[in-house]
Amino acid sequence: MSVSVQQADFDVGAEIAALSQGRYEVGAVASFVGLVRDVSGGAEVAAMTLEHYPGMTERSLEDIVGEARRRWQLDGVRVIHRYGRLEPGDRIVFVGVAGAHRGEAFAACEFVMDYLKTRAPFWKLEETPGGAHWVDARDSDDSAAARWDTESESRPGD
């Protein structure tokens, strides 16, 4: 099970350990944790609610993991994304990638995050002193995802 969409929090240390558990060919585990910040575009954020599209969410994350596995030689990939109401400091997302060498693991982990940011159907509703409002998509996320369309797939350190 490489993809989970859930309300519950997750255990980062256990997830990272599971990616190399009993797999002695794994030399590198790159991972990412995304957290709720208490500021957004200058406004104070008291909490946010993550809405998603059940069914499509899991499918889109599985597609992204599949694409990462096609692009790089990987031993394991794990994605967890939460939904529901979250407060500043809460974990939102985990991506962990295991491989023989660090170049592949880093590249694939960042790739999964960049694609997730533009392709997985989640939307954030932020609670600020000015009221609740939907977060706008960021252009920088589009450009982060777009560079994987052109960039060479192999990177130094592989």
């Binding site: 809405e51 997302v93 997730l116």
Partner: protein, 84 residues
């Protein structure tokens, strides 16, 4: 020729519904056709008008305006995603 249409996030708030069952009129063959037809309802449906930043999915996969719409499809409209 029924399709299920879903609306999410700010777009759902704008059109005032999360879901509808919709009988495809003749001439509505693509996602783009469907969106234009819905926008033509006017008033709050303006949120789907051309120029608005709306994304679509067909059967739970991202879809473009030229992708076909067929009977039994699940079509979703929503703003650009903001997860992660």
């Amino acid at each position: 020729m029924n399709v299920k249409i879903l609306y999410f996030a700010s777009l759902r708030d704008a059109v005032g519904r999360a879901e509808e069952s919709f009988v495809l009129p003749s001439g509505v063959a693509t996602i783009g056709d469907l969106r234009a037809f819905l926008a033509d309802r006017g008033d709050k449906w303006d949120a789907l008008a051309e120029g608005r930043n709306v994304r679509a999915a067909r059967n739970q996969r991202m879809a473009g305006p030229t992708d076909p719409v067929g009977p039994g499809d699940e079509i979703a409209f929503f703003p650009p995603v903001t997860g992660g």
